[in-house]
Structure formats: C-alpha cells, structure tokens
C-alpha cells in the first residue's frame, strides 16, 4: 500500500472513519429492511476508502459536494451519527430538520454542501464554491464527488472548462464503481474519462479507490497544489458498491454477477486491506482494532435508538424555510 499520512493517530482516524461509514450503512440498511426508514437510500459500503482518503486531506474550511450515495462523504467530512440518523428518519433533530432526508443531507458545519438527487447536479455548485474561494482570496479547496454515471451529464464539461480557464481550486473526484444504476460503465461511457478532463487542460489521475493510503497521498498532494493556485484537478477512483443501486435493489443478477460481487468483497475490501496493513505495520493490534469496531457499533446503535425515539418536526414547519429571512 502507498503511504500518505504518517502517524498512528492519523492512521487510526482513517480506519475509524472507514468503519464508521460501513457501520452507518449497515444500520441504515437494517432500518430500511425493518421498514423503519421512509423512502429509499443508496449504500456507500465498499467505497469507504474514496471518501475517507480524500476527506482526511481536507480541513473543516474545505468544502465538498456529495451525491445521492452521500452518507459516506457526510461521515468522512465529520458528521455526527445522531443528526444523520435523525435526518434519515425525517426527525426534527436531523441535519436538515428532516426536510432533506438521505438524498439531501448536508452538514454545513463541516463544509458538506449537501448530497444531491440530481445526478451531476452538484458539479456547478462545487465549481462555484471554488470560484468564491478564489475571488475572496481564501485558500480553501472544494472537492466535487460524483459517480461514473454523472460523467455523461454535459454540466461537467461546462464547469470543467471554466474551472480550467480560471484555475479554480476544485478537485473533481469521480467514483467509478463500474455501474450507474443497472448499467455497466462501458455501456454508457465512450472513450476515456480521464482524457475528457485532460482535453480541457486539467491534470487527471486514475487510481485504485480501494487503497485508502494511495487515495489520501494523492489527495494531500492535489489539495496542497490547489491551495497554491495550481488547480483544478480530476481524479478517477476505481471502486465498487457492495449493495444494489439502492437498498431495494436486491435481485441484481441480471446486470451483475454474484461472483463479481464476491471477488470485490473478498479480495479488495478497503477496510480489510487497511486493517491488515495496520496490524502488519504494528500500528494497531487485532485487539485494538476490535475495540474500535465495537465502540463504533455501539455509537451507531445508540444513535439509531436516539433517532427512533426523536420527534418529528412540528407540522408548523412545513412552510418554514421556503424563503430565507
């Protein structure tokens, strides 16, 4: 594995964050399966190294924009379990007072400008955040997360053109998990995704999204270069979603095989890989790891219980927040 952050504390925080994401998703899926969660949601499990590797290179002043598959980004950027579960259940204490739900979860306090239910819909927002940073002489960086499917949206090319012309501090992070909904990436993306960015004069990278240290190392370099005015950048991260497109997508053999899923889970799991590395390098013992896992599981269970017991917004909130004062 590549190595980026270089001390025990950093390593363990990255590990912890990845496990937090996985645990969050396992609980969210369970809430769905037990019919306690309204609507549908999209699981980030399998892609943890992408969100964590990148967000660990950012500060709270740096911004991200997220996607319909947004819980991972939200956790990685520092969000709190309780407020997240409350949001998923439509409760008043949720990050968006229950008005956004899974597909619109945002956490302004940590610079998460929000998930987005329009595929590609946040690409302008991320680029605009970077323009604001440049205009205001602020050195924060914005990361725009999106899937391979979103590369088909024209908006991406419009904003990459402007980001390149204006040298904006934005990093376009394409989470290529091989599918958009029920379709393979090869069937919907001609040519090369990184070449598309390069054609606009944007430096582009393609890396293994299951190797959190490699992701973090690259992210640190690019964030630093963005702060120096060398942006924008484009990164394509090869990754995989373990679940269906959404929690209700159970029978999916017609578009992808169980063998393929098994291979990714068993041989390329980002958490298992990093855990093995941590133990091999002597950063943590198996016992310490298990303790972390257990602590996170308890946190999640507590947060779920809290959220289940929390109250719904008062009906008077329905027409509040249409307009800002």
């Amino acid at each position: 594995m590549a190595s980026a952050k270089t001390n025990t504390e950093d390593y363990l925080r990255m590990y912890r964050q990845m496990v937090r994401i996985r645990t969050f998703e396992d609980n969210a899926n369970q809430l769905y399966l037990s019919a306690k969660m309204p609507g549908l949601t999209h699981m980030y499990s399998g892609e943890e190294a992408v969100a964590v590797g990148i967000c660990e290179a950012l500060t709270d002043d740096d911004r991200i924009t997220s996607t319909h598959r947004g819980h991972g980004h939200c956790v990685a950027k520092g969000a709190d379990f309780k407020k997240m579960f409350c949001e998923l259940l439509g409760k008043a204490e949720g990050y968006c007072r229950g008005k956004g739900g899974s597909m619109h979860i945002a956490d302004q306090s940590h610079g998460n400008l929000g998930a987005n239910a329009i595929v590609g819909g946040s690409m302008g927002i991320a680029t605009g955040s970077a323009l604001r940073a440049k205009l205001q002489g602020s050195d924060d960086v914005t990361v725009c997360f999106f899937g391979d499917g979103a590369t088909a949206q024209g908006l991406m090319y419009e904003v990459m053109n402007m980001a390149a012309l204006w040298k904006l501090p934005v990093i376009y992070a394409c989470e290529n998990n091989g599918y958009s909904e029920y379709t393979r990436t090869e069937e919907i993306a001609a040519g090369s995704i990184t070449a598309r960015a390069e054609a606009f004069g944007i430096e582009a990278f393609r890396i293994d999204g299951q190797d959190v240290l490699a992701v973090n190392e690259l992210a640190q370099k690019l964030v630093a270069r963005c702060r120096k005015g060398e942006g924008p950048f484009f990164v394509e991260l090869e990754t995989y979603r373990y679940h269906g497109h959404h929690v209700g997508d159970i029978n999916r053999e017609y578009y992808r095989s169980k063998a393929e899923e098994k291979d990714w889970r068993e041989n390329r799991d980002p958490i298992v890989r990093f855990r093995t590395w941590l133990v091999d390098q002597g950063v943590a013992s198996e016992d310490e790891i298990e303790a972390i896992n257990a602590e996170i599981e308890k946190d999640a269970a507590d947060a779920v219980a809290y959220a289940e017991a929390a109250s719904y917004p008062d009906t008077s909130e329905v027409d509040m927040h249409v307009y800002a004062a």
């Binding site: 956004g100 619109h104 719904y312």
Partner: protein
C-alpha cells in the same frame, strides 16, 4: 372486464404501438434490461430488441435532443424520463426546440414524439424526486399534455400520444403504477381534449387531474353521505383542454373546485379556474376554488410531506363550505 395495473397498461400501449409502427422506439435510462426502476417497461426489450428500446447514458438534455432530431426526420421516439423532476434538465430541447419547430418552419417540419414521465409526492423521495410539473409544459404552445388518472386512461392516452404528430408530454402518477383498473382487451384510443365525467352530481363540480381524481372521487363519496352530490370530472388532457364539458358541468352545479397535485400558485388550477370564472361567471354561486399542492419544496419527513398534498377530507371540507355558501377566502 379484466383488471390490469397502470404499469401494465402503459406497457401494453407501448407494445401495441411499437408493433404497429416500426418507426417508434423507446429511449431513456435503464429502459432495456432493467425496464426502468418502476419496471413499467419489463419485457419490451425482449420483444423489440435493443435497437428499439435504447438505454442511454445519464444525459437527459442529450437524449431529449436526439429524440427531437429523430422525430424531425421520420421516426417516432418515445422518451422515458425517469422522474418528472428531471424535466427541468430538458426544458430547452422540449420547449425551445420540439415545441416550436413545426411553427417556426411554417408547418414544414413535424416533431412527433412522446415524453413519458411522472408526477406525485408522498413517496418520501424529497424535493427533487416528487414534483408535479405539468403547469410548466402546459404553458408552452406547441406541446400537448396528458395526465392519465387510471390504467384505462394511461393506455388509451398513450396510444393516442404515439400517433399524434406533435410533441406530447404524458405525466403518469408514480403512486398509481400498481393500481388496477378495468381495461378492455380490444384496442381503444382516448382522443385528446375529451374530459371524462367520472361521477355525476348536481351540487358541485370537482375537476381533478391525475392523482387527484381518486382524491376527488373519495371526497365525492364522503359528500354523498351528507347528501351533497358532487360531479367529478377528469379533463384527461390539460392541453388541449375540454372547456366545453367543464363549463357545462359548472353551469349546472354553479360551484366548482379544481384540484391538481402541482404547486398551487401559478399552477394548473389557476388556468382552469380562470376559464371557468371567465366563461361561467354568471352561473356561479361561489368563486371557483383551487386546491393545489402547497407552495413549498416537497419535504422528506413523512410528518410534513403528507400535509402538502390535498386529501379527500380537505376537498370534502371545502366543498361542504362552498355548498353552504360560506366564504372560504373571507378577507
């Protein structure tokens, strides 16, 4: 008569018309093997192949534009737009191109295409997957707009839409895909601009579109128990609009409520109410009342979302007041 779901009805309409006319094809995201997330198109790719049931990348403006070009040159595309909310992405191709081409070319170019999409809240899908945007397209001359309220209408209107030589937008109600209704085995078409009187009554007219037709029917039942006879009318297409049938009813009942799931302000109910006010003014005993969705983005929380859409109880309550001569908007 056999009963089938709205989803099956749409599927049948598409299959029948695709068999009939080899220039038709379906284009959209995950329409082929997946048969769309709502599974409405299941089986079509097996019959018609991937040349006529075409999976696209996630590029709504792009495939909408492609459909316009195909339509202008001799094909009849059926565009599948997964959620009605995405209509915002394709407005230029739909409204600047498809809607205006026939007129701008002095009648020389046609754009015979169907845009299949949906509407409807209360699925806990939040603000970007719950909108009912029919008012926007109804405002643009050159487009026709159909709003089926059951499996029967969904089939008959779809077949008419596919044979129409103009761009037609059809909004299906997402909540209704699994609802069954009697649908004849024999072929039928439902002409555009012909409202359907779902229930006769003499005390008040409830004009409702799509998802709101069931709401109005339930309200009519509630009212019937109280001795108020409501007439329920489904315009079926809002462009063209069957003014005649609506006006006749209102001239008879002297009272009307117009119900549509789009936002109330600057919405469909305003147009219909205005026409009734203008043209049946001297027959009205009370102002025509409008009931649309609240003017708020659709909230995710179940505790809030259900408040935003008119319910049978709301409709009945308003009807009761109107019939009692109470001023609802006393100001």
């Amino acid at each position: 008569m056999r009963e089938i779901t709205l989803s099956q009805a749409v599927n049948e309409a598409l299959a029948e018309e695709m068999r009939r006319d080899p220039t038709t094809f379906i284009i959209g995201e995950d329409v082929a093997e997946a048969g769309t997330p709502f599974k409405v198109l299941s089986g079509l790719v097996e019959e018609f192949g991937t040349d006529r049931v075409i999976d696209t990348p996630i590029a709504e403006p792009g495939f909408m534009g492609i459909a316009v070009g195909a339509a202008m040159t001799g094909a009849r595309p059926i565009v599948d737009l997964m959620f009605g909310d995405f209509i915002f992405l394709i407005m230029d191709q739909l409204c600047n191109q498809a809607a205006k081409t026939h007129y701008m070319s002095g009648g020389k170019l046609n754009v015979p295409l169907v845009l299949r999409t949906n509407l409807g809240a209360t699925r806990r899908s939040a603000a970007q997957h719950s909108q009912s945007l029919q008012a926007l397209v109804a405002h643009i001359p050159g487009l026709k707009v159909a709003m089926p309220s059951s499996a029967y209408e969904a089939k008959g209107l779809m077949k008419t839409a596919i044979r129409d030589n103009n761009p037609v937008v059809i909004f299906e109600d997402k909540l209704m895909y699994q609802d069954k209704a009697p649908v004849p085995e024999q072929e039928y078409l439902i002409p555009f601009g012909q409202a359907n009187i779902k229930r006769e009554g003499r005390d008040i007219t409830l004009i409702a579109t799509s998802s709101m037709v069931q709401v109005a029917e339930k309200a009519a039942e509630i009212l019937a128990n109280e001795g108020i006879e409501a007439e329920v009318i489904d315009p079926r297409t809002i462009v063209p609009l069957d003014e005649q049938t609506l006006l006749e009813s209102v001239r008879k009942t002297s009272r009307a409520i117009v119900i549509d799931e789009g936002h109330q302000s600057y919405g469909v109910t305003a147009e219909i109410a205005s026409r009734l006010n203008e043209k049946a003014f001297y027959h009205l005993d009370a102002p025509v009342l409008r009931m649309g969705a609240m003017d708020v983005p659709v909230p995710f929380s179940p505790a809030l979302e259900d408040l935003t859409v008119p319910t049978p109880e709301d409709v009945a309550a308003n009807a009761r007041k109107l019939c009692a001569g109470e001023m609802i908007h006393a100001a």
